[in-house]
């Protein structure tokens, strides 16, 4: 699994678990904890499943509950219900979903195949254990979507970790390299409880773990902490900030005078690229497409029109896309993460923009730093997704009841066939080549 701390209990299906010997003590302890948690969850799940079977609400809910139960207990899956790739995620995510149901009471969530999306988190979740105030604050900002976007969340998390590390003191009879991670783990779980972790956060945490376990035991504590903070700073600088600048340089070259650039929702990187191109006196116009639930395009629109002279912008909602696509010379979109098979996991709606652009032979460029790479395959955005919190559903929207569910998925997955190029800091590459870049795999740290 690409994000060990996120996915929680290793389902028996995941085989990528490193052997126990190669793990540090901290990692082993963490693994034990996770397995214990998994067992508990499994028990609970089975109990729930049996209860459901005995009450036998309707034949349908049973049928759809079954595959989920099976994935939890590791028995062979029913072939009908889920695509093979999503099964891996369904295990982890389904647990979140059912956990949500448990805490929300016995409210039925309609069709079972959607249950693994998990309920949108309510903002005031409890603080369990010894959580640093900076993390509590960040958790709130995440769950309220005050900090939103893969880059922003990763930077915010790493910055908070710096505070946490500085405030940390190694207990007696322990070493920083062994103990710090056990201190950080609950902090991370707190953030995950606030909002499911982004791939970027997972990658950064993995790198951080590696650095912590590799830090010298003989180093004085303060020096070790300073060294870690320095490493974090470097990570933010190298993998995000400098990477963005390189991507801006590369992408700006693809915008020519007279072009019409289409973008969907708001990517911080695309925003920077457009501002940069404008600063270079390129004459182009922008079509900003947008959609519920988040309507982030309005924020982008505000930034673009506040330049002098304002960039000429057209704003439309997603259904207007077919009417506009003929005008477009290039589509620039951001990404949440990039997967081994070349699919791009991004804000829901991106896939349709890319699909239609491909149909009209308009190049689609995905702007994405290499640290967003995730070592997993994603065939559709069904296995793993996240729902927008209820505060984004407008007041005039119908309220959910027994027959009506309001689903606001946040992400979708664009197949590599719809993407012309991925603009990364190592150059413009086809989406399927991302796995051949060692940097993206984290094999070398800059």
């Amino acid at each position: 699994m690409s994000e060990p701390s996120k996915d929680g209990p290793p389902t028996p299906l995941s085989s990528s678990q490193p052997s126990q010997k190669s793990m540090t003590k901290a990692e082993r302890r963490e693994l034990q904890e996770r397995q214990r948690a998994a067992k508990a969850a499994q028990k609970q799940q089975q109990g729930q499943g049996q209860g459901q079977a005995s009450s036998s609400a309707s034949s349908r809910s049973k049928a759809q509950g079954a595959p989920q139960k099976k994935s939890e207990s590791g028995r062979p899956r029913a072939s009908s219900s889920a695509a093979p790739t999503s099964s891996r995620d369904v295990g982890g995510a389904a647990r979140d979903g059912s956990g949500g149901i448990d805490s929300e009471g016995p409210k039925t969530r309609g069709l079972r195949i959607f249950s693994h999306f998990g309920l949108p988190k309510t903002s005031g979740h409890q603080v369990k254990g010894d959580i640093h105030p900076a993390i509590i604050r960040l958790g709130l900002q995440f769950s309220e979507f005050k900090i939103c976007g893969a880059n922003a969340r990763c930077i915010a998390m790493l910055t908070a970790f710096k505070t946490v590390i500085q405030d940390y003191t190694t207990p007696a009879h322990n070493t920083l390299s062994r103990h710090l991670m056990t201190y950080l783990s609950p902090q991370i779980s707190h953030l995950v409880a606030a909002r499911p972790m982004s791939v970027t956060m997972g990658n950064a945490i993995r790198q951080l773990k590696l650095e912590i376990s590799g830090s010298d035991i003989d180093l004085p504590e303060q020096d070790a902490k300073d060294a870690l903070c320095h490493i974090i700073d470097n990570y933010i600088r190298d993998r995000i900030i400098i990477a963005d600048e390189v991507i801006e340089d590369l992408a700006v070259k693809k915008i020519k005078d007279g072009d019409v650039v289409m973008t969907y929702a708001r990517s911080s990187l695309v925003e920077k690229i457009l501002i940069r191109a404008h600063a270079l006196n390129k004459r182009f116009s922008v079509i900003v497409l947008d959609s519920r639930p988040l309507l982030e395009g309005k924020t982008l629109l505000r930034t673009l029109t506040s330049t002098t002279p304002p960039i000429s912008c057209t704003y439309a909602l997603l259904p207007a896309l077919p009417s506009l696509i003929k005008e477009v010379s290039v589509v620039l979109v951001g990404a949440h993460s990039l997967h081994t098979n070349g699919s791009v996991y991004s804000r829901a709606g991106t896939a349709m923009v890319a699909m239609l652009a491909k149909e009209h032979s308009v190049p689609v460029m995905v702007c994405c730093e290499t640290y967003k790479f995730s070592e997993s395959i994603m065939l559709d955005a069904f296995g793993k997704n996240e729902l927008a919190p209820l505060k984004f559903s407008p007041p005039e929207a119908p309220k959910p009841h027994s027959n009506l569910e309001v689903l606001d998925p946040l992400y979708d997955s664009t197949p590599p066939t719809c993407i012309t190029a991925v603009v990364t800091e190592v150059g413009l590459i086809p989406p399927t080549s991302i796995s051949s870049i060692p940097l993206a795999l984290g094999k070398t740290s800059l």
Binding site: T314, Y315, P409
Partner: protein, 411 residues
Amino acid sequence: MASDPQMLANQRIVEDLASRLRRRQVVGSRQAALETLLVLRQVVSRARFSNVDQLVDVIRSVGRRLVDAQPKGRAHSFLYEYADFNHGSFITGTSEHSVGNTVRKVLHHIREEYHTATEGSTPAPAPTFSIAKFVSQGQPRKQQTVQKNDAAKVPLKENDPDDPDSFARTLKPVLMEAIQDVFDELETVYDNISKNAKDHIHSDEIILTLGKSKTVESFLKAAAHHRNYTVIVAETAPSFVFSSFHDHGLTRHFTRYGGREMAKSLSSAGISTFLVPDSSIYALMSRVNKVILGAHAILANGGMFATSGALLAATAARAYSTPVVVCAGQFKLTPLWNLYHEYGALDFGDPSSVLGFEEGDLVDKVDVVNPYYDYVQPELLDAFITNYGDHPPSSIYRLLKETYDDEDNEL
């Protein structure tokens, strides 16, 4: 003839409907078709004619007036700026195609009645050719044969110099019946489309639909009597739905997201419903078994105009090889082509529903585009379910040939 008080009365009702169409007070294809039919019935009942060509001319001029009255994209004042989006020529510019279609259909029926009346016992023109009749065999389709026998009994005299009204007097009862037939067809259109709903929706299927379409709504509800299935409704921003405007024509309540109304209505009928934003159509498509759409107008090539968002859904469906089924009444068949696949019907909606005036600082800096309709190519569609049976897009042209007369394609 123009000074005739009856003609003046005719003109008044025509102008009344024309202005209501122009102000978009008549919304919805079926509503427009019904209103047109009411006007035509009045016009025919008051018209004075001594041969069939005069009658056809009267009806055609009314039809032309109504079609011309409607809002056209070019003259539309809602869009802040659309000069950039205004090239290419468009055959189709009217918003309610069903007005013209109804006129064509009435003309077709009038000619049919005239032929049977003049040629006596000649059977209706080659019924064996008709695929519509072939598909809908056994369907109680207007008792034409019964009426014809009555009509044939009185000998018709055209252009009788002694009694110029005799032609009209003989033919009018038959014509009124023919118009009544069209009327009945419109009244029962939803029931007839929904009749076979259970054959199209199977148990435990997941159906995706878009926005609010009365036809689709009744189709899905009819299927729910027999099947247990799930509907995902995309809310189609910012489509307008005028609900409950029957009162006085002016008390209109519209919602920005037709899908929300649809989801409310379907779930209250006991169908398990999911309401999703348009953005997640692609993400959920992998689990959808069938996409069921409503149409605004079905074109001669088998393509259609439908609420904007339909093209996205149909394209996404093709990416996943999901069948796309269109439910539409036959009055939506339009003998037009959309050769320039540019902007749907070139009909734009109110931009304030996309970017409201509460975003005041943005409004004057930004162009906002809000098209009403998408043009969906026939390649993306799998079947049309009409009140005249189910047809693939490739046989729509045949259906058109049977429904309308060629000379009426241009009113």
